[in-house]
């Protein structure tokens, strides 16, 4: 009798919770990434090689990890401005406390990983139990951990155990380990998304008060989100140490804004509840290939900076444009 607005099964599938299909809007990003890869290969044909791409992935890996960390915070409707600082904290610890190139104190790697998680726990406690805005709490910890890193190692230097370096730049069988790294990150997200914690994170990000009504411990979930974010950011610092064979206490700030840019380009909503690490990894790849393409064109450095910025703005505009045009709203 009545006109029923039931969604068809097809529409439901496209928007549904299955990861088998990307939501429609994200196909644009995939195409864009493909276009960038093709352009990059065209400019530098040597790139189309397993080892070369592996090197690219290796350079991108810290950014991948930071984007993953940032994604978790954003999914819970927050933000983590301290990801870069936590990264350099574990980074300088690796370069100074593990006993030099021989790695005589390799056992300390475990507490170092824990430092990342602890930093995240502090953020989480301030936000979940202290009631601070994520922006403000992580703004403060951004400064604090930067300071801590500088205290431990005032300038670039230190020595990174070869064990770690080999892990990062080495191979797993025939392929560079960076592929495995990316795969691990994606597998981690696949698992998290399907776990009860994953559902809780999305619920909290989507609508905190309703999540609470449903019996979700909102505060504990947020605490865990930031703890995980800190843990992953800490891992990024260890990886970076392996990749550069030294400690770089000032490198954090340069990674923060790209982590946010990657999340936005990937399509995760800054309002929380929608998106995922898989998308952010794609975002990092888009940024990486833009940078690589511009570098390979061997333009003067100022042109490179402008080209990078222009492409970033272009990409983000393209991503918003379909929404803007179809928006049935007057300005």
């Amino acid at each position: 009798m009545s006109a029923v607005a039931t969604p068809t099964r097809e529409k439901a599938r496209a928007a549904g919770i299955s990861l088998k299909r990307l939501p429609r809007g994200q196909w644009g990003t995939v195409l864009l990434l493909a276009a960038l890869v093709v352009a990059d290969f065209a400019v530098q044909p040597n790139l189309a090689d397993v080892d070369q791409i592996g090197l690219l992935l290796q350079t991108a890996m810290p950014a991948v990890l930071l984007a993953a960390a940032q994604t978790l915070a954003v999914l819970s409707r927050g933000v983590d401005l301290s990801v870069g600082s936590v990264m350099v904290t574990t980074n300088v610890l690796v370069a100074t406390k593990l006993g030099g190139i021989d790695g005589s104190h390799m056992g300390l790697i475990v507490p170092i990983v824990a430092v990342g998680a602890a930093a995240g726990l502090i953020n989480g406690a301030l936000i979940a139990y202290g009631g601070l805005e994520p922006f403000v709490a992580t703004l403060a910890s951004w400064a604090i951990f930067n300071g801590v890193a500088l205290l431990i190692l005032p300038t670039d230097g230190g020595a990174v155990p070869t064990t770690i370096t080999n892990l990062v730049i080495g191979k797993v069988g025939p392929i560079p380990s960076s592929y495995v790294g990316v795969a691990i990150v994606l597998a981690f997200w696949w698992y998290l998304r399907r776990s009860p914690l994953g559902v809780r994170i999305l619920a909290v990000g989507s609508d905190e008060s309703r999540a609470f009504l449903n019996g979700i411990d909102v505060r504990r979930t947020k605490l865990l989100v930031y703890a995980l974010s800190g843990l992953i950011a800490g891992l990024a610092g260890i990886y970076l140490a392996g990749a550069t064979s030294s400690g770089t206490p000032a490198a954090g700030d340069g990674f923060l804004l790209p982590s946010l840019a990657a999340v936005v380009i990937g399509g995760t909503s800054l309002a929380g509840g929608r998106g995922g690490i898989g998308l952010s990894v794609m975002g990092v790849m888009v940024l990486t290939f833009i940078t690589d393409l511009v570098t390979n064109l061997q333009l003067p450095s100022w042109v490179a900076v402008v080209a990078n910025a222009a492409m970033l703005l272009l990409v983000v505009s393209l991503r918003s444009l379909p929404n803007v045009l179809s928006r049935k709203e007057t300005p």
Partner: protein, 529 residues
């Protein structure tokens, strides 16, 4: 009239209800419940006894304490004093989990479905089925169980993989009930559970409520629809100003007695007498067209007229209203008082004298953190400037208090943040804001949904005043009875077009609106003379 919910299959009432647990089946007994926020007492000495097997209605104005009482029973907030007992056992409801542990389930008015999660995840959010070794959620089992729940409730039309945010309000309200029924609750609380639903979906909800009651559960329903209460409740309790003032069977009270108990005073007529609309056409639309949503259609609005917009929910009424308000782009010609106008933003519409009171007062209508005064002034700040181009605080105070009084708000509270007010009072603030713009045409979108009788009366009185001074009103409501009693004419919208225009002076009834809404009895293209 709403109803873009799912057409459900009727609920089956079990033939022989199994006995409901051993022990005294006393039901839910609340004694002397109290709750205060600082100086403000919201509940005091509240008694309620809802017996097992009965549907117990809870009536009262917004601000009477019904939602607070429900939140206490659902474990969302803690009472300061009093006792709650279920079947003789005293309960401590310290959290939503504690309430759930006692099989108390609430169908919340604001709904508890998380928008970005899927239907299945929402329905089973308390108990997500896990894989054995890996600990992840079994997707297939999740969908299967959700399908089973939906089928047994009679809602096979919903795909459990859909994201809840994409479903209409009506469907979400239906799902909210399915979620509550999943655990066969011993106490089922329905808080305005039918507010967005049309007749058949409402009947479905109440049939399920009756079925649950027959299984020995306690069912408490809050509703402002007195007809619904009379039709389905076995007993009722009335709250007023935080106290329980009356209880008994519905037929022990006539309508006037009910309203009198709720308000503590008599209300003569909900819909005050109004002079008939004038002849002059104030707004004329030709070819009004929102691509994909409404039209092209023509319509006319007269001075002093209340033009109702009816029809089932989702037929294009929202597009019509928001287009007239300038909030969405549209094609077609508009004439205001004989002059052609064209506007593309709400701001321009307001400058032309057309203003909208939106559907969702919390999300679209009010700045909840700002004071009542600055909310009322929001659309008119430019008018309140002194010669120095700054805002004249004195003029602002005077103007906002004037409008506040016109809608029945307590001017002593003007400095408080808008979020402190009850739903009915919040609606009045939005209305006052619209009135301050001195409109020629006022667009009201379901402005009395879910608000209490007292606020409704105040708003109706204000509208009558307005039309007497020549303001024309376009009034969309999901309540057909309201349209029939309030409006001069009713445009019934169906499938993006105007199915017919009814003249309320000529003994129109709700069934006339319904027929046009669903297309039985043929199209009556009665253009207004």
């Amino acid at each position: 009239m709403t109803g873009s919910g799912i057409q459900p299959r009727p609920a089956a009432v079990p033939a022989d209800p199994p006995p409901f647990g051993a022990g005294e089946a006393d039901g839910l007994r609340v004694t002397g419940l109290g709750k205060s926020y600082g100086q403000v007492t919201v509940l005091e000495g509240v008694d309620l006894h809802a017996r097992p097997g009965e549907i117990h209605a809870l009536l009262g104005e917004n601000g009477a304490g019904k939602s607070t009482l429900m939140k206490v029973l659902s474990g969302v907030i803690h009472a300061d004093g009093g006792r709650i007992a279920l079947d003789g056992r005293e309960l401590t409801l310290g959290s939503p989990d504690a309430a759930r542990a006692h099989r108390i389930r609430t169908v919340f008015q604001e709904l508890s479905l998380v928008p970005d999660l899927g239907v299945a995840e929402n329905l089973l959010i308390e108990r997500l089925p896990r894989q054995r070794f890996v600990g992840t959620i079994g997707r297939r089992r999740l969908v299967r169980e959700a399908n089973a729940l939906l089928e047994s409730a009679g809602l096979d039309g919903v795909d459990p993989r859909t994201r809840v945010a994409e479903l209409s309000l009506a469907v979400r309200q239906q799902l909210e009930l399915v979620k509550a029924l999943r655990v066969d609750p011993s106490v089922l609380i329905l808080d305005e559970a039918t507010s967005a639903l049309g007749p058949s979906e409402s009947d479905w909800v109440l049939a399920h409520a009756r079925a649950q009651a027959s299984r020995g559960a306690v069912v408490i329903m809050i509703s402002h629809r007195i007809a619904e209460v009379r039709g389905h409740a076995d007993r009722l309790t009335i709250l007023r100003s935080g106290h329980s003032v009356a209880t008994g069977a519905p037929n022990a009270f006539d309508d006037d007695a009910l309203i009198e108990q709720m308000l503590g005073r008599r209300v003569e007529r909900l819909y005050p007498a109004r002079a008939p609309a004038r002849e002059r056409v104030v707004l004329r639309a030709k070819g009004l067209h929102v691509p994909g949503s409404f039209g092209p259609q023509d319509l006319e609005l007269r001075e002093g007229e209340i033009l109702g917009i009816g029809g089932l929910e989702g037929q294009g009424q929202r597009a019509l209203m928001t287009a007239l308000a300038g909030a969405i782009p549209f094609h077609g010609e508009l004439e205001l008082n004989g002059e052609s106008v064209s506007y593309r933003t709400p701001r321009q519409a307001i400058r032309n004298g057309i203003v909208l009171v939106p559907e969702d007062r919390g999300a679209e209508g009010l700045l909840l953190s700002h004071s009542i005064r600055s909310n009322i002034a929001l659309s008119s700040v430019e008018k309140l400037r002194s010669r120095m181009r700054s805002i004249d605080a004195g003029a602002e105070r005077e103007a906002t208090e004037r409008e506040a009084r016109a809608v029945g708000l307590d001017v002593r509270r003007m400095g408080e943040p808008a979020r402190n007010l009850s739903g009915g009072n919040q609606q009045k603030v939005v209305l006052a804001r619209a009135l301050l713009t001195e409109p020629r045409v006022l667009l009201l979108y379901d402005c009395t949904r879910g608000i209490d009788v007292g606020s409704k009366a105040d708003i109706m009185a204000a509208l009558a005043q307005l039309t007497a001074s020549g303001v024309a009103i376009v009034y969309y409501s999901s309540d057909a009875a309201e349209l029939v009693h309030l409006c001069d004419r009713v445009l019934v919208v169906r499938s993006r077009r105007i199915a017919g225009v009814l003249d309320c002076a000529r003994a129109t009834g709700e069934e006339d609106i319904l027929h046009l809404a669903v297309g039985t009895r043929g199209d009556e293209e009665e253009e207004a003379a």
